[in-house]
C-alpha cells in the first residue's frame, strides 16, 4: 500500500504526516517489531524500517550503534522482510530504508517482489540516485512500489527536477549537509529546500529529515513540510534504556510527543 494513503489522511487533517525510523532487528527481531508497533500506536503515520548494513555512510553514531548490534546478533535480510510484514499487518504504511548493496545482492526484482508480498510500500535509498536506479525503477513499476529518493541543500535545480521526477510516495529532503543524528536546531536550509522542491514538483509531498528530536522541532518542521521524519531520537530511546520494556515505553512517549507536535503545527 503506497504511503500516499497516509499522506492524504494527514492532509485531510490539515497537518504534516509523521514518519518514524527504526532499524529492523534491534534490540531483537521480535523486540523491534514490538517497538515499531508501539510507535505506530502512538501516532506515527509512516514507518521506515531500516535494513542494517555494514557500511552505512549516511548514518551517525546512534543509528550505526543500533544497526551494528542487529548485525552482530545475526540479522538477515529475510528478518527485515518479516518485520515489514508484521508491521504492515498492524495497519501501518511501511517503507524500507536501505543502502543499495543488500538489495542488489538479494536481487532487485526479487527484493521488490518479496517486499510487495510482505505489504511494504516501497524503498528509501540513501545511496542510490536516479541515474543509477534503472533496475529499481523498473522493479518498482512492476510491483507498484513507492520509490523515495533524497535531495539535499546542495542539489541543483536541475537535479531537484530530475530526482523528483523519479520519486513516488514522497521526496526525502535531507535538511542539512551531514549524517543522521539529533541536533539542537533544525537547519535553516530546510525551509528553503522545501520551497525549491515544491517549485520543481508541486504535486509531490516533501518530507524533511535529519535533526528532529522533539515535539517542538516536529511542530516547527510540520508548519512547512508535508512530513516530519524522525530517526536517531527514536533509536536513542531504545539504545539508552536499561531494558527492553522501558525502552519501548520511552519510545512510545516520544512518539506521542512528536505526534502532538505535528498536530500543533497548524492550529
Amino acid at each position: 500500500m503506497s504511503v500516499s494513503v497516509a499522506f492524504e489522511k494527514a492532509k485531510a487533517e490539515q497537518r504534516a504526516a509523521l514518519v518514524g525510523y527504526l532499524p529492523a532487528g534491534f534490540p531483537s527481531v521480535d523486540g523491534g517489531i514490538a517497538a515499531i508497533r508501539a510507535m505506530v500506536g502512538a501516532g506515527v503515520d509512516v514507518v521506515e524500517v531500516g535494513l542494517p548494513y555494514s557500511d552505512p555512510v549516511m548514518d551517525g553514531p546512534v543509528i550505526q550503534r543500533a544497526t551494528e548490534r542487529a548485525l552482530a546478533a545475526g540479522l538477515r535480510t529475510a528478518d527485515v522482510l518479516r518485520t515489514v510484514e508484521a508491521v504492515a499487518d498492524a495497519g501501518a504504511s511501511v517503507l524500507v530504508m536501505t543502502y543499495w548493496a543488500p538489495v542488489e545482492r538479494y536481487g532487485v526484482d526479487r527484493f521488490a517482489r518479496d517486499l510487495a508480498a510482505a505489504g511494504g510500500a516501497g524503498l528509501i535509498t540513501p545511496d542510490l540516485i536516479p541515474e543509477e536506479a534503472a533496475e529499481w525503477l523498473a522493479a518498482a513499476d512492476a510491483y507498484g512500489l513507492d520509490r523515495v529518493f533524497l535531495v539535499a541543500p546542495s542539489s541543483t535545480d536541475e537535479r531537484l527536477a530530475l530526482t523528483t521526477r523519479h520519486c513516488r510516495g514522497f521526496v526525502y529532503a535531507a535538511a542539512l549537509m551531514g549524517v543522521t543524528g539529533v541536533r539542537d536546531q533544525v537547519s535553516d536550509a530546510a525551509p528553503e529546500l522545501v520551497g525549491r522542491v515544491r517549485a520543481a514538483a508541486p504535486a509531490l509531498p516533501v518530507g524533511v529529515g535529519l535533526g528532529v528530536r522533539d515535539g517542538v522541532q516536529a511542530a516547527a518542521v510540520g508548519r512547512y513540510a508535508d512530513a516530519v521524519i524522525v530517526g536517531s531520537a527514536l533509536v536513542d530511546r531504545l539504545l539508552s534504556a536499561p531494558d527492553a520494556a522501558s525502552g519501548v515505553a520511552s519510545l512510545r512517549q516520544l512518539s506521542e510527543e512528536l505526534a502532538a507536535g505535528v498536530r500543533a503545527a497548524r492550529p
Binding site: Y53, S54, D55, P56, V57, M58, G60, Q64, E68, L71, R76, T77, W100, A101, P102, V103, E104, R105, Y106, P126, D127, L128, I129, E131, E132, F149, L150, V151, A152, P153, S154, S155, T156, R159, T163, A174, M177, G178, V179
Partner: protein, 406 residues
C-alpha cells in the same frame, strides 16, 4: 588509451563497473571535482605545474632498476620500477600532488583522506604541508597500531589523525568515516581519495595522476632492453599502483598484465583480501566493482598481513580488466609475500613494502610459466610501489628478529 576504455569512461564507467552510489548531498561535490579535473587536464599551466612538482619535489621519473641477483634467483630478467624512491617512499605521492593542486584550484583549504598502511596518509599530510592546506586523516584503529610510525609521521607533518573505531577498524571503515566527514563539510573540504576506487570521477582521475608509472616504465624498458617487457606485475589492494603501471601498456597486446591480490592465510580459509579472486560484483564505497560480501550483501571483513592491501573491494577498472581478460589477477598468501620480502632484502639490499612483496611473490610464480611458454627468460617489470620502513615492526615479528624472541 584504448578506444573501448575511452568510451566507457565518458560515463564514469568501466563496462558495468564504476558509477556513483553515494548520497545525493555529495553529487554536487563530485560534479565540481569532475569539472575542475577536466579543466585542469586541458590546462597547460596545470600540467606544467604538476610535471614540475613530480620532477623537482617527488623525484620522478623513478628509476627502472635491473635487479640482477634477483633475476638470477628467479630465472627471468626482473626490472624493478622504483616507486619506493619517490619522496615519502611510495607511488602515492603522484596522486596526492595532482589532487592537492586540484583542491587549490577549487579553493578548498581542507583535505581529508583515509589510509590503511599509512602511506597515503603520509603522502596527503605531506602535500597539505607543501601546499599550505589543513589535513585530517582517518585511519582504522587496528591500522594505527600496526603502522604507528606512519601515524607519528603524519602528526609530525601537521595532520590530525583520527583513529576509526567502527566496524572492522581497518581501511574500509576509515573510508566510511571520511565519506561522512565529506558529506558534512563538503563546502570547504576536498576528499583526497587514495586509490582508484570510490565514485566517479575518482577511479579515472586517480588513475590519470598515477599513470606516469607505466608511461615512464615503458620508455625506460625500451631504452634499456630495446623492446617492451613480456609482463608487467603489481600488487592490488584498491589498485592504484597497478592501474598506474598497467595503463600505458593496455594497447600492447603482447605485454601481459598481472595483478596480485592479498591471499592472506589462503583464499580457501576465508581470511584474505582477494576481492577479484573470491568476491563478486557488488556496490561498496560509491562504485560497483568486485566486493567481498556475504549472501545478504554485507561486506565481509578482509585480512592481509599488509594493511595497505587489507580492503574488501578493488577499483572498478580492475574489475573490468579482469572480466575482459586483459589483465590476470591471482592471489598471494601472507607467507609467499614474506618469503619474497626476505628474498629481495637479501639479493638486492632493498627492503620493500609488504604490499610490493606480494607483487614480487607473484612474479616469482609466473616467471617459470612465462619462460616455458616463451622459450627464453622473460623480461618482467615489477612495480615496487613502496619501501618497507613502515613495515619493519611486522617483518621483525614475522621473522622473529627482535631480541627476546625465539
Amino acid at each position: 588509451m584504448s578506444t573501448a576504455l575511452g568510451l566507457a569512461e565518458a560515463e564514469g564507467r568501466f563496462g558495468r563497473y564504476g558509477g556513483r552510489f553515494v548520497p545525493e548531498a555529495l553529487i554536487a561535490a563530485l560534479e565540481e571535482v569532475e569539472t575542475a579535473y577536466r579543466a585542469a587536464q586541458a590546462d597547460t599551466d596545470f600540467q606544467v605545474e604538476f610535471a614540475a612538482m613530480l620532477r623537482d619535489y617527488a623525484g620522478c621519473p623513478s628509476r627502472l632498476y635491473e635487479a640482477t641477483r634477483l633475476s638470477a634467483e628467479l630465472g627471468g630478467r626482473v626490472l624493478l620500477k622504483r616507486e619506493d624512491l619517490n619522496h615519502t617512499g611510495a607511488h602515492k605521492l603522484r596522486n596526492v600532488l595532482g589532487q592537492g593542486l586540484l583542491a587549490k584550484r577549487m579553493g578548498k583549504p581542507r583535505l581529508i583522506a583515509e589510509t590503511g598502511a599509512g602511506q597515503h596518509g603520509v603522502a596527503t599530510a605531506t602535500v597539505a604541508a607543501y601546499l599550505n592546506l589543513s589535513c585530517t586523516v582517518y585511519m582504522g584503529e587496528v591500522d594505527t597500531e600496526r603502522q604507528a610510525l606512519n601515524v607519528a609521521r603524519m602528526r609530525m607533518l601537521g595532520a590530525t589523525v583520527v583513529p576509526v573505531r567502527t566496524g572492522s577498524r581497518t581501511l574500509k571503515d576509515a573510508i566510511n568515516e571520511a565519506m561522512r566527514d565529506w558529506v558534512t563539510n563538503v563546502a570547504d573540504t576536498h576528499y583526497l581519495l587514495g586509490t582508484v576506487a570510490g565514485p566517479h570521477p575518482f577511479p579515472t582521475m586517480v588513475r590519470d595522476f598515477v599513470r606516469g608509472i607505466g608511461v615512464e616504465a615503458r620508455e625506460q624498458c625500451v631504452a634499456l632492453t630495446g623492446d617492451l617487457p613480456d609482463a608487467v606485475t603489481a600488487c592490488v589492494g584498491g589498485g592504484s599502483n597497478a592501474i598506474g603501471a598497467f595503463h600505458a601498456f593496455l594497447d600492447d597486446a603482447e605485454v601481459r598484465l598481472y595483478g596480485f591480490e592479498a591471499g592472506g592465510d589462503g583464499v580457501e580459509t576465508g581470511r584474505h583480501a582477494a576481492a577479484i579472486g573470491a568476491g563478486g560484483a557488488g556496490v561498496l564505497h560509491g562504485a560497483r566493482s568486485y566486493v567481498m560480501q556475504d549472501e545478504d550483501g554485507q561486506t565481509v571483513e578482509s585480512h592481509s598481513i599488509s594493511a595497505g592491501l587489507d580492503y574488501p573491494s578493488v577499483g572498478p577498472e580492475h574489475a573490468w580488466l579482469h572480466d575482459t581478460g586483459r589483465a590476470i589477477y591471482q592471489s598471494v598468501t601472507d607467507t609467499e609475500a614474506m618469503d619474497a620480502f626476505a628474498l629481495l632484502c637479501r639479493t638486492e639490499g632493498i627492503i620493500p613494502a609488504i604490499e610490493s612483496a606480494h607483487a614480487l611473490a607473484g612474479t616469482r610464480r609466473i616467471i617459470p610459466e612465462l619462460a616455458a611458454e616463451l622459450g627464453r627468460p622473460p623480461v618482467v617489470i615489477v612495480t615496487l610501489s613502496g619501501r618497507g620502513d613502515k613495515d619493519m615492526a611486522t617483518a621483525a615479528r614475522w621473522f622473529q628478529l627482535l631480541d627476546g624472541e625465539s
